[in-house]
């Protein structure tokens, strides 16, 4: 049962990472966010994150961030060994402050997006994205 077994082992390893890493990785993400905001507490309004509730493939998860009026948006995968995922910079001529990309997730975790607004304030949004072994649906 080559494929079944190997695929399951891989999935198992992915989740094992999460089991081992979350404390340290979340701390790393928190530190990175604090570094970006300079320690200021971000607001909750003005930024949206679109991501699947359950990833169809943890290796390529489509996400979209939007924050009208932002000069910069950073995306973090709080449960990844390296939580910094992307930085988007918007110049004064940008028509819309939004971006979409695909990211890789080591396991079930929160994806966090933080926007820096033109007035220097920050806004944060986070969503849990589940990475699952799958199967057994009815």
């Amino acid at each position: 049962m080559k494929l079944t077994r190997r695929a399951t082992i891989l999935a198992a390893m992915g989740t094992a990472f999460v089991a081992v890493l979350p404390m340290r990785a979340t701390a790393a993400a928190d530190a990175a966010i604090a570094d970006f905001t300079g320690g200021a507490a971000p607001g909750a309004n003005g930024i949206t994150l679109t991501a699947p509730e359950i990833a169809e493939n943890g290796n390529t998860v489509p996400i979209e961030v939007s924050a009208p009026g932002a000069t910069e948006i950073r995306v973090y995968a709080a449960g990844n060994p390296t939580p910094d995922v992307a930085t988007f910079l918007f110049g004064p001529l940008a028509a819309a402050q939004m971006a979409s990309t695909r990211i890789r997730l080591a396991g079930t975790q929160h994806v966090v997006a933080v926007a820096k607004m033109a007035d220097g304030s920050f806004a944060e949004v986070r969503q849990e994205v589940k990475v699952t072994i799958g199967g057994c649906g009815g």
Partner: protein
């Protein structure tokens, strides 16, 4: 006709309505052997638009036995709410008399005895009679199929769903949505949708994975009764996770709540006075959709196989649950005028096969689809001492039997059988035919693998599936039931977070605790991974039944459930 205001005023109004329309008398009439087709179907026609909803028939064309679940636990906001109610609590909630026809149709506890009184249920030729009767009342009634139509018994398996496509064309279906349809493979789905299907195949949440663009039509607009009704299709959101994604590699699904809101808004802008979501989300997901998306009048729910005798109201949205396997048809009369839906009347019609006369044309068509396989299906493989059924969160005797077959025929320590909710029941003391085995197993990735897994991996799998069922947020649930396990017992506390629900895993043959780092021989079927090897599960089960002659599947006492 009930107005929305009436629904809001009294929670019992719906019960009073169905009672007044004849439901309450069925038990007495049936006991006196006077329950007639007109008792089930005659009612005043109200409003100006009628919907007919059928869902999750799983290619079941024949009258069958079907046992409803004993354990159907809800978590989070859904705890204790329909459909997470069973047995006596279900009877109490909906005012159903014990021993009545509706009791037989909707609860599990006395199904064997009541089956002798009321007979088999389902049958596509009977459903055709019901559809024709309703169309006699309202000629332009809209027939909507919630999906899981092309997968199931032997004729559907052998014809790649062609039999069901033909039969649902003949039924006069106006639109459908999907789930298991895609397990025929994307090429076959495309062939059917483009060349064989006479009606739209809707899925607002099906996207091309590469370009992130809609892959199918989202909406069909119907002009009826002087108004416009928009029907939006919503396919099962987690197809690439719950089923083999390699069978439809370029498609992406998901709940996509923003997308639903957008197509609802588009439909309203295009003049729809009423918006219907024809959904395969599952009931709890649809409850959350109704809470979060504005502008949906009716959700015709599917996927989770629940049958609820009354509409469940969430805000201004009414949720209808029409069961599975052709056991029920829902008739929904809508009063639409002055820019919106003013009233809704609903009847859940149980398809008692001895009460409703078969439609001769549909009966002949069904017979035609079965004829090439008739002798093969009729072959008796053995007998069963106990009722074989599948539904229930943790175990069913059909899966216990399948696990026994895997343990013995594949010489495994532990067996895994997926938590599917489809498959007809077999009454105790009866023959098991090959058709019965295919009713419970026929699908396109049936290989029974044999593999080694560590205790840690087994724990991980159980935790993963349990979270798909018991995550408190329905958008993180996938429907289906807990994976069935043979040769191993465990304890589950559904209120815990993922990783902490499953404890006390025990290897039954030795009574020893499962060790995290030890390897066990595991056999299972329905792997979502490409290239899985092994004989089809129906061959394994057939061999086991033949070897046993008479099978016995006593109550499963190896799983301890902590809930509530």
């Amino acid at each position: 006709m009930i107005s929305k205001r009436h629904f809001l005023q009294a929670s019992l109004s719906a019960a009073a309505l169905v009672g007044a329309s004849g439901f309450g008398n069925w038990g007495r009439l049936a006991a006196q052997q006077r329950l007639s087709q007109s008792d089930l179907l005659d009612q005043p026609t109200t409003g100006n638009v009628t919907l007919i909803h059928i869902t999750d028939i799983h290619a079941q064309t024949q009258p069958i036995w079907f046992r409803e679940p004993e354990i159907n636990l809800g978590v989070g906001d859904a705890q204790g709410k329909p459909p997470h109610v069973s047995g006596a609590a279900f009877r109490d909630m909906f005012g159903i008399a014990q021993g009545s026809a509706l009791d037989y149709a909707l609860t599990y506890d006395d199904v064997v005895a009541l089956g002798q009184t009321y007979g088999k249920i389902c049958g596509l030729d009977r459903i055709a009679t019901v559809v024709k009767h309703i169309k006699g009342d309202r000629e332009d009634a809209i027939v909507l199929d919630g999906g899981d139509t092309w997968q199931g018994p032997l004729p559907a398996l052998r014809t790649n769903g062609a039999d069901m496509v033909r039969l649902f064309n003949a039924l006069g279906t106006d639109a459908m949505t999907s789930h298991w349809e895609f397990t025929l493979g994307i090429d076959r789905v495309t062939e059917i949708v483009e060349n064989e299907l006479n009606f739209p195949f809707l899925g607002a949440n099906i996207f091309d994975a590469t370009w992130d663009e809609p892959a199918y039509e989202s909406t069909q607009m119907f002009e009826r009764g002087g108004t416009k009704v928009a029907v939006i299709g919503q396919a099962f959101p987690y197809l690439p996770i719950a089923n083999p994604s390699h069978m439809f590699p370029d498609l992406s699904f998901g709940v996509r709540q923003e997308r639903i809101q957008q197509v609802v808004n588009d439909a309203r802008a295009a003049g729809a006075e009423c918006v219907v979501l024809l959904s395969h989300n599952g009931f709890d997901v649809d409850r959350k959709v109704a809470q979060n998306v504005t502008g949906i009048d009716v959700i015709l729910t599917g996927h989770t196989h629940d049958a609820i005798p009354e509409p469940v109201q969430v805000g201004d949205t009414f949720l209808i649950a029409s069961g599975s396997h052709g056991k029920f048809v829902s008739r929904v009369d809508l009063d639409i005028r002055d820019g919106g839906m003013q009233g809704i009347e609903h009847r859940l019609i149980p398809i008692f096969s001895d009460v409703i006369a078969p439609d001769p044309e549909m009966a002949a068509l069904v017979e035609d689809t079965r004829a090439p396989f008739k002798d093969e299906m009729a072959e008796v493989l053995g007998q069963t001492e106990d009722m074989l059924y599948r539904r229930g969160n943790f175990n069913g005797t059909w899966d216990d039997l399948i696990c026994k077959a895997l343990l013995q025929e594949r010489e495994a320590d532990i067996a895994l059988s997926p938590g599917f909710r489809w498959g007809a029941s077999v009454m105790p003391g009866q023959d098991i035919t090959r058709e019965d085995v295919f009713n419970a197993t026929a699908m396109s990735y049936p290989n029974a693998y044999r593999s080694e897994m560590t205790g840690e991996m087994l724990h991980l799998i159980l935790e993963d599936v349990a979270d798909n069922l018991f995550n408190p947020d329905p958008y993180y649930q996938q429907g289906g039931d807990m994976v069935r396990v043979g040769g191993m017992g465990y304890r589950i506390d559904i209120s815990q977070p993922q990783g902490s629900r499953i404890t006390d895993m025990t290897l039954l043959k030795t009574g020893e605790a499962i060790a995290a780092d030890k390897s066990y021989v595991v056999s299972g079927w329905a792997s979502v991974n490409e290239g899985t090897e092994g004989p089809p599960i129906w061959d394994v089960v057939e061999a086991y039944i033949r070897n046993q002659g008479t099978v016995s599947v006593p109550e499963n006492t190896t799983i301890a459930v902590v809930a509530g």
